[in-house]
Amino acid sequence: MGFADWISETENIVFLVISLFLVGSAVLVVTVRNVVHAALLLVVALAGSASLFIMLGAEFVAWAMVLIYIGAVVVLFLFGIMITRAPTGRDSVGLDHKRRWPAALVAAATFATIATGTTLAFGTEKIPEGVVGTDLLGDSLFGRYVIPFEVVSFVLLAALIGGIVLARKDPE
């Protein structure tokens, strides 16, 4: 299956546009000089991945992504940037290390390894059509996966208590 065959499907054009937005905003997240802009560009990247979930027929996960990440996590990041007084101006020196090229080399090697592995393993196998409804997901979450679900809720409880303990000032 060549590239001309691949691009002739309409959904692949949509995929290409979404992935351009996704990769572009992700690159800007790790390179931009302004910390607040980095947090806001993360919103674009996460919205791109949520739209990929909708393309894959995973609507509940997509909206959970929008609610949790874009709604809560990014706001938390903005609070963190505010509290730690990270350099928010345009002339923020020393936001990055000087040794960029070794890091870029490691990242490129990671990408090459993973992409080669998946291409060799999966080739051109297609994803079957279909949408997983929220009813099936809920049945599965509260049926077969109910014990992991409870464990995850316990992790959230521990994180809640830990966050309160960490943020509290010492009473002395």
Binding site: M1, E9, E11, N12, V23, A26, V29, V30, A39, L42, L46, F53, M55, L56, G57, A58, F60, V61, A64, I68, Y69, V73, L76, F77, F79, G80, I83, T84, R85, G94, L95, D96, H97, R100, P102, A103, A104, V106, A107, T110, I114, A115, T118, T119, F122, G123, T124, E125, I127, P128, V132, L136, L137, S140, Y145, V152, V155, A159, G162, L166
Partner: protein
């Protein structure tokens, strides 16, 4: 849609996150790059879930678990960063050398 296009995109996103973790000095920005890596893992999980198309929607269930755990991770991580900033008035990861001998 072939499954490999999602996997390659997720690999690209993951390696951008690796670059960010390695190159950023501010701890909040390091956490932002970790979020990019987790988003890449989520894309992988949902793509495999649609590819296998099993009766339990396991890929999506585990993507939800990853979202939950990463929310907890961000809460704790930012709490620790705020605490470090309060104690040392700097949130740069290369100035945190108090565990170096």
């Amino acid at each position: 849609m072939i499954v490999n296009q999602f996997l390659v995109l997720a690999a690209l996103l993951f390696s951008i996150g690796v670059y960010g973790v390695l190159v950023r000095r501010n701890a909040v920005l390091v956490l932002l790059s970790v979020e990019l890596m987790l988003a890449a893992v989520n894309i992988n999980l949902v793509a495999f879930g649609s590819y296998i198309a099993d009766a339990f929607a396991s890929g999506q269930v585990f993507a939800l678990f990853v979202i939950t755990v990463s929310a907890a991770e961000v809460g704790i991580g930012l709490g620790i960063i705020v605490l470090i900033f309060r104690n040392r008035s700097s949130a740069n990861v290369d100035e945190l050398d108090l565990m170096k001998w």
